[in-house]
């Protein structure tokens, strides 16, 4: 995890004791909170509360995927989302990643079959998740 963070991010840490104004600036109201800001400083992803390592890594990859998606780099975004959806299927972020992987593939190809495939996967693998419910509209 250390290597992943140092390789992919500029890491910055803010402590409530020393930098309360930075908490207010970014609307952080609980700890731990992690925010991923793109190189232009725009927030792309936020997690609040402690996460075990596997879930935390999944959230970092999910955030990188959202950043690529926002930049309309849909192929790269899909690759990052698949890393979570397929590579960390038991993580809490996996259902969301599977959803966005389908959307990114659709955006890249303009082929709605990717939405249907994502909906089917979510229904089969994570039937109780809100992401399966969101994707259910793609099954009709």
């Amino acid at each position: 995890m250390i290597e992943f963070i140092n390789e992919h991010f500029v890491p910055a840490q803010v402590h409530i004791r020393d930098q309360k104004a930075v908490f207010e600036r970014f609307g952080a109201s609980w700890t731990p909170t992690q925010i991923i800001l793109d190189p232009q400083g725009e927030e792309q992803h936020r997690t609040e509360g402690f996460l075990p390592a596997e879930d935390f890594l999944a959230q970092l990859e999910l955030g990188l995927g959202k950043m690529e998606f926002h930049e309309r780099h849909f192929s790269e975004a899909e690759r990052m989302f698949r890393a979570v959806c397929d590579g960390r299927p038991d993580s809490g972020g996996a259902p969301e990643a599977c959803y966005w992987a389908g959307v990114a593939a659709y955006k890249e190809t303009d082929d709605p079959k990717h939405l249907g495939a994502a909906g089917a996967l979510l229904t089969q693998r994570y039937p109780a998740s809100e992401w399966a419910r969101k994707a259910s509209v793609w099954l009709h």
Binding site: I2, E3, I5, N6, H8, F9, V10, P11, A12, Q13, V14, H15, I16, R17, D18, Q19, V22, F23, F26, A28, T31, P32, T33, Q34, I35, I36, L37, D38, P39, Q40, G41, Q44, L60, G63, L64, M67
Partner: protein, 35 residues
């Protein structure tokens, strides 16, 4: 050899400048952990 610790910066604006220059995103960690 890979670093064994996360290279946390304490100056958020310096981190944002570095992000712009490097093209990397910032991971901003808000902590209350004891030092």
């Amino acid at each position: 050899m890979a670093s064994m610790t996360i290279a946390w910066q304490r100056d958020v604006d310096a981190a944002l400048r570095q992000a712009r220059e490097s093209g990397k995103p910032v991971l901003l960690d808000f902590s209350a952990a004891p030092a």
